[in-house]
Amino acid sequence: MNTAISVSGLVKTFGRTRALDGLDLTVSPGEVHGFLGPNGSGKSTTIRVLLGLLRADAGTAELLGGDPWRDATALHRRLAYVPGDVTLWPNLSGGEVIDLLGRLRGGLDPRRRAELLERFELDPRKKGRAYSKGNRQKVALVAALASDAELLILDEPTSGLDPLMEEVFRQCVREERRRGRTVLLSSHILSEVEALCDRVTIIRRGRAVESGTLDELRHLTRTSIQAELARPSDGLAGLAGVHGLEADGARVRFEVDGGRLDEVLRHLVGSGVVSLVSRPPTLEELFLRHYADDLGAEAKAAAR
């Protein structure tokens, strides 16, 4: 088994909506893989196909060396899942839900359970209907993290958590990685993905548009430059690879494509560099760049 998850050309339609449109996704064992995309881009659909809850219309999906639809029950012994929108049984306490889900998976470590309850500051005696959204999320997180599954599938697991709890969650994921577990983390909280993930796949409208390590993705995209020059620079706007130039006398701000950086810096040096700040693109910018195309297309469609 070379991959924990391997999906190619996955298609899933609901009536006339094409939720997944030839999606590719590869997750290697032992990595924390970020799965990024705007709302409605198909993240949850992909995960539910991987869990054998939905049946793909076309394409192949392999999970831990098995077929997620055919071998669902056997595969589920080896994974734990946190849904994006956790609903609990209104008359079961949180502790009962954690124990039930753990036992169905073949038992859970009581020490680890107690430790997680304490770290997440969760009262296990409350009934399901009395928990807030964040606390329902914690119930599902404790149930998943207390298991000894080799693969964790987390669908927007921190929605509803406060910043302190989000930090606890990050620590937990780092510990899981140290133990050699594989994590698929679907999210649209970019700082979380940036902090935790080894590799990232960005999807849009049911297709993967980027996939790779964060460094690889950054290399493919633009660096933002802010510089103060000795004298105003001519011809900067005309250079290939320069975008969004804002010039205020001798101060300039712009973005430059990864491959053109050398050429553009040489041009700046010609004008005398007084100060220079260069910032690699944040994941947010990466993400927005793909998403912006969407917004643009929608605006065009609306204008028609």
Binding site: T73, Y81, L92, L101, R103, R105, A130
Partner: protein, 531 residues
């Protein structure tokens, strides 16, 4: 009226959400009234026949207990008699379900929170729920009034108003129970238990005939509807009782709304255990945990029903008199010529139909679990779909059998104590109850067969029960062809006690249930799990 701000918009939303549910309920009850009316028009066209039939009713304990006394012998009066008690219960069930659906269920699912944050008064959701229920009852009352117009306008209006106001009264009962608890299912259960108590109270009041404790009927809201006596004096002033009762209960519900938090009930919710009991370790154990409360409530209802009706059986034979047409009418309903046995068969037939309502409800917990997203974490664990569905299916089937056993034992107990032959009574009652089990399973099988491949079509299981109810209640009256009667599983039940025991039809009914269940599980394994 800022407390009711937004009610107009919300009412339109409620009516839109109920655009299928209300017409189906109103349509079903209208068809029930229509078939009863045309049945009597055809069956008892002669005045003398009707007089004899009405006289027979008033000396028959079982008919008195189920339907109350007949006060006149016109076709209109007999139709009102037949629909006045048992059918009024259905009207009330509709009203209860509608009100809880728009109040506590909305609140429990969190949708009311979104709505209440808008420009919506504190009282608006309750006003909308009561308004929706009232409109449904009004539509129902108008449609039966128009239906009965040919038999006399005053009686038709009196009967329509009796249904409308009885339904409205129980709508306000539900409005109060919805304030008491945080759980919609419990709110429904309390309201329907009160409705059952009202029906039993008037059953006891009426079963003794003119010499019985008839005053008890005035304590029962179902009794009020009958006391209006449409086509037999049209006592309009009686309508003031449900009207005043509804206004009082509505006022109580509004004052409770003003006193409590959104999402909370008046009955406090207690904390649960920090750890699960060791037994909570399988899908079946979870299904049992989720369903045991409802099953206990149903079993208690069956026990009360059995105890009360068991006590009215003794003496049926003597009271019925010698009228051949009465004997004929009862035998047609019960299927045997011995009146005591016919009564038992009728009572257990109704009990079995009620048990099948439980069976479908228990089976459809599967759909509720799936639609609320609670099936997902289970199916993402090493639990196969068949094991998950099997747990709830097992409880639905065994629970149905348990209800009929409880009904049989309690009926046999009071029947035996009043007749002095406990062993004989127990054997008759248990036999009569147990033969119904496979038939009561069939609707649950239909529910699973729909839920498997087509989860959005599960309402078809309720439609099936409605058809079986109509066939059983009005089929004999309309003298339908046998093939039509054969569509209902309850037609095939051996008419025990009295008739010969037949094993083959029971085995066939069990096989049909098993085949339906297998088809459902086959479909469930092949489809998407949807929220």
């Amino acid at each position: 009226m800022t407390a009711n701000a937004g009610a107009r918009t919300l009412l339109r939303l409620a009516l839109r959400r109920d655009r299928v549910m209300i017409p189906v309920w109103v349509g079903l009850l209208f068809v029930l009234a229509l078939t009863v009316l045309t049945g009597y028009q055809g069956l008892y066209s002669e005045e003398a026949e009707r007089r004899e039939f009405a006289a027979g009713i008033n000396t028959n304990t079982s008919l008195l207990a189920f339907y109350g006394p007949a006060h006149a012998a016109s076709v209109g009066a007999l139709t009102a008699w037949r629909l006045g008690a048992a059918a009024a219960v259905l009207v009330s069930v509709m009203s209860i379900l509608l009100v809880v659906r728009h109040t506590r269920a909305e609140e429990e699912d969190g949708r009311l929170e979104l709505v209440s944050a808008g420009v919506v008064g504190r009282y608006a959701p309750l006003t909308v729920a009561l308004g929706t229920a009232f409109l449904a009852n009004l539509a129902l009352g108008l449609s039966v009034t128009l239906l009965l117009m040919g038999e006399g306008a005053a009686g038709a209006v009196a009967f329509g108003l009796a249904w409308t106001l009885t339904g409205t009264f129980f709508a306000t009962v539900a409005a109060v129970t919805a304030q008491l608890t945080g759980n919609a299912r419990v709110a429904n259960t309390i309201a329907i238990t009160l409705l059952g108590a009202a029906f039993l109270l008037r059953a006891v009041a009426d079963s003794g005939g003119a010499n019985g404790p008839t005053w008890l009927s005035w304590l029962s809201p179902i009794g009020w509807g009958q006391q209006v006596r449409p086509y037999a004096g049209d006592r309009w002033w009686v309508l003031a009782l449900p009207l005043a009762g509804a206004m009082l209960l509505a006022a109580l519900a509004y004052s409770l709304v003003a006193r409590r938090d959104l999402g909370g009930g008046l009955l406090p919710s207690r904390p649960g255990p920090a750890q699960a009991a060791p037994s909570l370790r399988s899908p079946l154990a979870l299904a049992w945990r989720l369903q045991r409360g409802a099953l206990a409530a149903w079993a208690a209802g069956f026990a009360v029903y059995g105890l009360v009706f068991g006590g009215t059986i003794e003496g049926v034979d003597e009271l019925a008199g010698d009228s051949p047409s009465t004997r004929d009418a009862i035998a047609r309903m019960g299927g045997t010529t011995d009146l005591t046995n016919a009564f038992l068969v009728t009572a257990f037939g109704l009990m079995a139909l009620t048990a099948s309502v439980y069976a479908v409800q228990a089976m459809l917990r599967l759909r509720g679990e799936e639609a609320h997203g609670r099936a997902e974490p289970l199916l993402a664990s090493p639990v196969s779909r068949v094991r998950w569905a099997g747990g709830h299916a097992l409880i639905a089937l065994l629970g149905t059998a348990l209800l009929l056993v409880v009904g049989g034992v309690t009926t046999g107990l009071t029947y035996g104590l009043t007749s002095g032959d406990l062993a004989g009574a127990m054997a008759d009652a248990m036999g009569g109850a147990l033969v119904q089990v496979p038939a009561a399973w069939v609707p649950a099988g239909i529910a699973l067969a729909l839920l498997g491949p087509a989860p959005r079509a599960v309402a078809g299981a309720w439609a099936a029960i409605a058809v079986f109810l109509l066939l059983g209640q009005v089929g004999p009256l309309l003298e339908l062809d046998q093939w039509a009667m054969d569509l209902s599983p309850f037609t095939h039940v051996p008419k025990l006690p009295g008739a010969a025991m037949a094993v083959a039809p029971m085995v066939w009914l069990a096989v049909v249930t098993a085949a339906l269940a297998a088809a459902g599980l086959y479909g469930l394994r092949r489809r998407d799990i949807t929220a």
